[in-house]
Amino acid sequence: MDLATYSRESSSNRQAYQQMRDHIRRTYAGQYVALTLGKVIGAANSFDEARDLVHRLNPVPEYYLVFPAGMEPDFDLIYDLSGNL
């Protein structure tokens, strides 16, 4: 994913999440939520199951997040400047 794609997608998904936050917390309490393309595509009881929901899409979106419904997803970029050595 390039920086332009990240910036665009994280911004639009963040905006979408802010509008859906209360709904997500109520509807999917206790589950992991998969968020991509500005919408919740599903939720599951485990992290891996929720991630699989994204991987089943065709094409698989470049940007997505999986997070516990009761927590804020991490839209920010984490710097890992030695992570590719």
């Binding site: 994913m1 390039d2 920086l3 794609t5 990240y6 994280s10 992991y32 992290f47 991630r51 940007y63 997505y64 997040l65 999986v66 997070f67 516990p68 927590m71 997803p73 991490d74 920010d76 970029l77 984490i78 710097y79 890992d80 400047l81 030695s82 992570g83 590719n84 050595l85």
Partner: protein, 140 residues
């Protein structure tokens, strides 16, 4: 306050001792592992990460986006656990218990402690003795 110190390796690296979810581990201090939210304290080998995950050692999981020095942006998962410093001499747990997220690191990259871990150490201070090449942490 009592203090624990770690000497630089011959390569100039600082490896500190930590307990991650009940497992003693040496991790490299990496000032280039920076999480604006202050939640991701460590990056560990994918094999160890998977082992902890399979044993149910993590609390929550999250997906993150990560920028590496080559400009690549990729997804990386993390899991939360309790971490604590281990004093190298004597080998004992010290300082506060912190709950932090741990990255699933890339193969071949050392296990590392990022800035977020140190920022979570409430009441502690780091003293870096540049002349003696010592990384010391004072703890309550």
């Amino acid at each position: 306050m009592p203090q624990a110190c770690w000497s630089a390796s011959p390569r100039g690296e600082y490896w500190i001792d930590v307990n991650l979810g009940g497992r003693p581990l040496q991790v490299l201090i990496d000032s280039g592992l920076i999480d604006a939210r202050g939640q991701v304290g460590f990056s560990i080998a994918s094999s160890l990460y998977d082992k902890i995950k399979q044993s149910g050692g993590f609390g929550n999981h999250q997906m993150h986006t990560r920028l590496t020095a080559d400009g690549q942006i990729s997804h990386t998962e993390s899991g939360s656990l309790d971490a604590r410093l281990i004093c190298p001499q004597p080998h004992s747990l010290i300082g506060p218990v912190v709950t932090t997220y741990v990255f699933r690191g890339a193969p071949g990259v050392p296990d590392r402690a990022g800035m977020a871990f140190f920022h979570l150490l409430k009441g502690c201070k780091v003293e870096w003795d540049l002349d003696q090449r010592l990384w010391c942490i004072s703890y309550p």
